[in-house]
Symmetry: C2
């Protein structure tokens, strides 16, 4: 097959992306990839010259740091807002003449935050202004594996519709619940300034990084599953149950709009301490510093209901030990 993937598979994927991204995407704009991790490494290898930097907003998926370093780039982390939204001003201030791209991830791992349309529009406007200011194209890379895991009829804004120099990367692992398979895609905005070099470079890099092409059988499989996802209501039920119980126990958090994570304030601000206390209860959570933001911890609720229910006593005891004030109503 061509290194970009089977043409008939790409055709089906392009129809689905065009509708999701409100942007006409053709077969030539897409590369099938070894998941989102493969897509991001391919894009970063293509974009980065040694010494370039890439900006991301915390909290975020920390593998980005390796992915940039792999190709001679440096990930610069900037603070987000208290509600986990992007802070466009801090991103703007972090941009230098060596900045090549911004990576965003919405719905966000670990916060569950979806960046609203007006934030995306402000980001796009800032990037356009800043690109002319520094005389260099700033790319917006959107890592979107949770686009379909969203609740309460919110929509995830289209990145390609908002900003022309954009690249979207994703994986089917979350929305089809096939972690362990390595299948995803990337698409380059056909309006991007250096479009032809960019897509040709990406196809070459996908090959020479040793991915060669996305696994053949899984390409054929996902071609038949365009627009499909696992039953999101099952996740919503888990989210709502956890939100009610954890709030009752005194934990403080923002209700996630998407993903299957809660990002919760660590009692007393000590993320390692709460991780240890919960471990004593046989509950495994991730410290916020693993996402660049100590003072929080992450729960993943992509587990059986019985596991979630079984963990409630442990969460309650830990809340009490940590001096959280229980809501007795």
């Amino acid at each position: 097959m061509p290194n970009a993937g089977y043409p008939d598979v790409i055709k089906k994927v392009s129809d689905c992306i065009s509708s999701e991204q409100k942007t006409k995407v053709s077969e030539n704009n897409i590369v099938m990839t070894s998941g989102a991790g493969g897509a991001l490494n391919t894009v970063l290898k293509t974009l980065i010259n040694s010494g370039d930097n890439i900006i991301a907003s915390i909290p975020c998926f920390m593998e980005y740091k390796f992915y940039c370093d792999n190709h001679g780039g440096e990930l610069k982390l900037v603070n987000g807002k208290a509600d986990f939204n992007l802070d466009i001003d801090t991103i703007e201030q972090a941009i230098t003449k060596d900045t090549v791209a911004i990576i965003i991830n919405s719905p966000n791992n670990p916060s569950g935050r979806i960046y609203p349309q007006e934030t995306i529009d402000s980001l796009a406007l800032m990037l356009e202004v800043k690109s002319s200011e520094i005389g260099r194209t700033l790319y917006l890379i959107s890592d979107e594996p949770y686009r379909k895991i969203v609740y309460d009829d919110v929509t995830v804004p289209s990145i390609m519709d908002a900003y022309k120099n954009s690249i979207v990367c994703t994986s089917y692992s979350k929305d089809l619940s096939i972690p362990g398979e390595r299948i995803g895609w990337l698409t380059v905005n056909p309006e991007a300034e250096d479009y032809t070099n960019l897509i040709n470079g990406i196809i070459l890099c996908n090959r020479i990084l040793g991915y060669v092409n996305a696994p053949a059988l899984m390409q054929r499989t996902i071609a038949e599953l365009q627009g499909v996802s696992v039953d999101i209501d099952l996740y919503k039920k888990k989210r709502d149950y956890l939100a009610e119980k954890l709030a009752q126990f005194g934990y403080r958090f923002r209700i996630p709009e998407g993903t299957f994570y809660f990002f919760i304030e660590a009692p007393g601000g000590d993320d390692m301490k709460i991780v240890d206390l919960l471990k004593d209860e046989r509950i495994l959570v991730v410290p916020g510093r693993g996402f660049g933001l100590p003072g929080y911890f992450r729960i993943a609720y992509c587990v059986e209901d019985s596991v979630i229910e079984g963990s409630m006593a442990g969460f309650k005891r830990t809340a009490e030990k940590s001096g959280l004030k229980q809501d007795d109503k």
Copy 2:
């Protein structure tokens, strides 16, 4: 699953490797990979420090050049012998204090050569002596996707049995005839000097390069196919047919001991000219310069018998046009 792969899959693979490599390999010594390309990139990222060089003998698979460059290394090509065997002296002369590894590929793409046991033993001895001389461990990386595609009861010598600082990489694409799937493995010799750092580094690099883990379903598939290969007799029949016919037409070549390639002298030494002449006959071959050795061209015979038979008239006409002396016996 662990990033190295499913433990039950690795167990089955380890039994098969132990027998093939005449070296006891345990579950801890193996990482399931995204094919041989994924395995090689993972190993090279782990071994290379910026500025290091890696040595390979021509003719060879030229993607090695990219694979080294991806991680800040430089591939140094050295001449092999006229019969496509390794020339241990030229390899020795190419080694510098910046050399980190030698990559070999046997059975070889494009020559079909299997390096004999005494060559592997001489290579191993030279590497041991040279390692102490430069005060640095020299690794031997063996890329072995064609190990099972061999003819006439020849055996491919074990690299792990011959040299302790060795790493074997492979793919199931050729022996199970599943090109396009991304499934293979690498194994680090448990006797390697810096074994623990090496295997831990490799598992990390496999993750952070974005492979994350080898595709899950294909891991489970190949676990049930250990020791199995496609019917090699079908390839042997094609090889023997081609060997007879091409010799009759006046082409000069060494009979391949393995793989599904012939590497043939270009008439007059001009590889681009013969490629063009054959293209006019709708026959696609690869110029030797694509493997570092102009003056030859490669035929791949992993095609239907009807395609091979249908190409004979074109090969004959091209031989005549090129002034080759036909054998009329």
